[in-house]
Symmetry: C2
Subunit: 146 residues, 2 copies
Amino acid sequence: MFPTSDTDARLVGKLRDRRLRVTPQRIVIHRALCSQARHMTAEQVLASVSDVLPGTSLPTVYSTLELLEELGLVRRVGAGNGAVVFDSRVEPHAHTVCRRCGAIADLEGASAPKNALSMAAATGFAPDHAQLVVWGLCSACAPRTG
Amino acid sequence: MFPTSDTDARLVGKLRDRRLRVTPQRIVIHRALCSQARHMTAEQVLASVSDVLPGTSLPTVYSTLELLEELGLVRRVGAGNGAVVFDSRVEPHAHTVCRRCGAIADLEGASAPKNALSMAAATGFAPDHAQLVVWGLCSACAPRTG
DNA sequence: ATGACTGCAAACTCTTTGCACAACA
DNA sequence: TGTTGTGCAAAGAGTTTGCAGTCAT
């Protein structure tokens, strides 16, 4: 399989560096995360991948997501309510999570996460990532609630 | 059972306001969260409570924690790795989470979470809580890793 | 050719649910 | 005394593990 985009090339490069195999599943799962609306659950990744690669299994999705996280191509985001999604935007940033519909969106302009890294470092902690989550009601859900 | 401290009085007051019953389990679980090292898992709460009230069950712990959260006396904190802890400090604040030992600590001085609330509000989102998590290695674990 | 990766099925953990007994108000 | 809350046991969801066959290198 040839890389058909920068996205693929980045993954293939990282896999080759580590002497790991370039499999269709890895390519397709990575594409799904980069091209679709990000913030996908494992189930959503499977559904998206299954269109292209029927027969792909959930354990493979999980193990591939874990691998992609190790390669620094994906981040695991805990929404706090137990829901876990995977995000191909890897730099520290902020999310809003709707308590009613569960929607997860990026919150732009919050410099907080990056600042927090240096604050944490000042306490003797060795930070490698930070994430800010804001809970509440999204603009679609807020009007219909008391 | 009489309130023996401000902590108890606050819980009892909130329960009475809602016409809910004041039970030993609720008192003891609330005390555990307020007096012990905070950031306890449900299992840790049960262990702590069992010393005082043997026979207390895990389902009761969960349902009580859910109630305390509704009453605004406790916050559920998702560490992102799947671990969930409960925190009796309820205002928005930041945590550090050690990837090696799992230790969770407060990160003081990060004004980020509060700022994020107003940023989110500006986008049409109706925020009610924010939480910042910094992952990395704590000062105890950092030295022994490459 | 050979060793890593995938798919299937089952196990595992954590949390929630249903029902009968106990206890708060 | 009448409900509400608790405890027990079992169910449920999501994720992980083990093993045999397949496929990338």
